[in-house]
Symmetry: C2
Subunit: 218 residues, 2 copies
């Protein structure tokens, strides 16, 4: 292979890498992921990549169509809401167990993450927030001591980080498109249309903002 810095277990790392890229928006929703491209990107053969893609399919990040390919799933608003609601229900259950089983070391890590999260929000480094968010939930999952809950919370927090990230980038994309439309309406001298577009624009930004800040750290 290329770099050959891979020590012993490639597919697990591939899962992590691809999932990270999906969450970070490198692979946009609806994008097609070819095995060859991923194999080349990570410097391994197609076999580990295939296994990684199967895992990501089971986790719900991608969708595979036989003999066609795998595509990054597109989350609807409703599903994003479901994920957030799911977390709001499961997190207390997990926290209850964590309260009984947590170690002082885990407690310290959580406190550190909270501080880092607040700092990131205060300093406007919003791109770091989703990752800190995930870390926070993963530590809680680890502290719960339940492997079942841990696995579920980990997947949930990762998907929610994805929702946040997609929301941010999609928001930015939509923002620019709306700006363009507003400019067009202004250029055309269409006051009513421009007014309506600006109203929608503000409403959408507010909605996105509320979703984003409702629970900025964890």
């Amino acid at each position: 292979m290329a770099g050959d810095k891979g020590p012993r277990r490639a597919p697990q790392e591939a899962v992590r890498a691809v999932r990270e890229d999906i969450i970070r928006g490198v692979f946009a929703p609806g994008a097609r992921l070819t095995e060859d491209a991923l194999a080349a990107r990570y410097g391994v053969s197609r076999v580990p990549v295939r296994e990684a893609l199967r895992v990501l399919e089971a986790e719900g990040f991608v969708e595979a169509k036989p003999y066609v390919g795998v595509f990054v799933r597109e989350l609807s608003e409703a599903e994003a809401e479901d994920l957030l609601e799911l977390r709001s229900v499961i997190e207390p259950m997990c926290a209850a167990r964590a309260a009984r089983n947590r170690t002082p070391e885990q407690l310290g890590r959580l406190k550190e993450l909270v501080n880092l999260g607040w700092d990131a929000v205060r300093d406007g480094r919003l791109e770091e927030v989703p990752r800190l968010n995930s870390r926070f939930h993963e530590v809680i999952a680890e502290a719960s001591g339940s492997e079942v809950l841990g696995q579920l919370i980990r997947q949930l927090s990762q998907k929610i980080a994805w929702v946040y990230a997609v929301g941010l980038t999609l928001r930015a994309e939509d923002s620019w498109r709306e700006h363009e439309e507003i400019l067009a309406a202004l250029a055309a001298g269409d006051a009513d249309r421009a007014s309506g577009l600006v109203g929608q624009h503000i409403l959408r930004a507010t909605t996105a903002y509320r979703r984003r800040v409702r629970d900025p750290i964890g």
Copy 2:
């Protein structure tokens, strides 16, 4: 390959088959699953089997140790309780959406499943109950209209069916072991030990029974 009745997609079927065998207890908790054996069992190569095992690992049915093998996971009582509690929390959320989105056809399927479940319980065909249970929850998940909730509920119901099935078989196994110990205590004339063992035996049987009948259909 052997039978070669496989139409087009092998690994997906392999996931289903292996998971079914795990749930049915063909592969007991802690058992080692070798890729070659599974490949031979299903008449395919190791590649689809590996992908299937990765999926099952992501779903939490098996645990893989690098260069050693995959083992069927052993669920503790606490984790079983967590699964049941998880379902009791998630199911209402899913049902709320299903109440809004269900089709009459789905409603009919649910009613039929309930009838089948009651019949099975009344007639003492308990081995059919877990499967009917899973089906019931899967239809609810389908009716919710949320892909995210659907996937989660499906995995949950399958794992709970596993818990029930394992509980039944393990219970039978433990029962026989306890019987043996009780017999040994009786043969040795150890009244206190025999009394204690019988007490534990009844207690365990009661607990298992309560877990089993608390929610026999859905």
